[in-house]
Amino acid sequence: MAASALKVVRSWSGLAPGVTFAVWSIPRQTQVRWSRYSPEFRDPLTDKEHYRKPVAGLTEEEKYEKELKKTQLIKAAPTTTTCSVFADPVISKFTNMMMKGGNKILARSLITQTLEAVKRKQFEKHRTASAEEQAIIERNPYIIFHQALKNCEPVIGLVPILRGGHFYQVPVPLADQRRRFLAMKWMITECREHKHRRILMPEKLSHELLQAFHNQGPVIKRKQEMHKMAEANRALAHYRWW
């Protein structure tokens, strides 16, 4: 037995009823679609601070998890993961959604130029503003990006449900991941479709992001239209069965 043994103390089940007694080491039957890894492989964790934590500061559960991980098989880290301080999962996701035909270099350069444009615009505003306004103006492009996308996330969505031969748009609560996806999708679609062909993408995108940051602009309007439609169709809410 390589790992240090754990005592099966009766007080465990008494002390922490919320702690899952993770003796169940049958490989979890997760839905793995088209993966070359078998189901017992776990996802890698690339956060280096997590491993540098001192052993004394860990709770019982964390210690157990740590020992358990030593016996588990781990997948390889993907090529886009990094433990760099500049890496942002939201920006990576947005870059991938912007990408066309696998041209990651172009997508990434567009995003970098967008963030630079946002920063420049904010610095210009900051320079020409009075002292009270200067305290309010946000100049960090990453914060603006995150806040803008958060403002664009819808709270409730519409789903077409077939009933009696007709499709009805039924209001439905959305999962977190779906909301983030919709916000990014709307932003990208808006910037691609409603811009003049001579305007470059970074310029348009930075403009839209700044508008969304202040809860204005076409993307926010689209979100509010979705909310209004959901409100209008609230009589159909009982069509939902989940």
Partner: protein, 412 residues
Amino acid sequence: MAAPCASLGAVVSCRLFLGSRVILARSKGPWGASAAGLQAGAAPQLSRLIRTTVVTTKKNVPASRHEPYTEDFIKKQVEEFNIGKRHLANMMGEDPETFTQEDVDRAITYLFPSGLFEKRARPVMKHPEQIFPRQRAMQWGEDGRPFHFLFYTGKQAYYSLMHDIYGKILQAESRESQLPPKNLLPANTEVIDLIGSRWLIKEELEEMLVEKLSDQDYVQFIRLLEKLLRSACGPGEQELVRRFRRSVAARSQQQQIPPVQHDAQGAPFSIGQGRRKTAQAEAVVTAQGSGRIQVNGEDYLHYFPVLQDREQLMFPFHFLDRLGKHDVTCTVSGGGRSAQAGALRLAMARALCSFISKDEVEWMRQAGWTRSGLRRMRMCPPAWSRIQSSGIGTALSTAQPLPGMQHQLCLL
């Protein structure tokens, strides 16, 4: 008239003959031993015949009987195996006393080299316990009465095991209710290594009980054992639980760490190899350096103009806080830009493993740096969607690749 009668008679007699043969054959079946025992006049326990069930998968073929493996037969096979092992040791010029099964396997592959792709078809010399399948002993006596009280459940070994475990749970619960509530820590807590061991898998359990089980049976069994573990466990119960656990080695021990070598000046370095898609890379990492990376003779800044690739090269060092402390000289070939970067990342991570502590090696493994990814190109026709939308009538009559089929990265 006579001829048809004769032929009819022949047919009838033939049928009778067949029937009699079948009846005779059947008499050798479950009740056969009892009949034999009655005839022999001996109690069935003295001549315990170990029988297998007859399985016929082909039609129009008479049921091929399995040879009954008597205990004497198995004993003889074991003796022959042991003698054969000693002969083999003599042939190979090794000491017969310390000739293990691995040595036997090696000797057989040496003496009987086989090019067969199917490993199970190659010559093998193993202990008879591994070759002859374990069979259930006779389960009923000469009067036809079964020995075990759970025989009519169909899975007597499984249900009797569940019965025993449940009995132990009830005992443990009654013991717990008798103990005073403040006594949380029992006097002697035995230690079960829950992390370094795993439960038996279904196949292992079936092998142990010599009975076929369903998935639900197996799940119920594991649930019952976990319930036993959760209740107050005495040494007896833990012994029972240990029978159903198998040890699991820590994964970090299975990793191959490249050895540290020394160059002409005595400076230590190590070589790591990595692959990603079709790219192959080799990295020579020196223990002392200033962070220079040379790829195929060029500086890495020129070889990888894209930032993402350079970030990949940087990662193993950044993860271990060793940026700028090692010099790397690498060669890479094949694949595209991203694949080469990934292969180099793997090669450097593996080479770095020789300079770091065991804990850090384990961190690298858990972060996924030391394993090559499995994503590969796959033929994925985009024309599928066109065919499906055009209706059921357009069935695929040809098995050839459709025009416009592209290689796409379809797998995760």
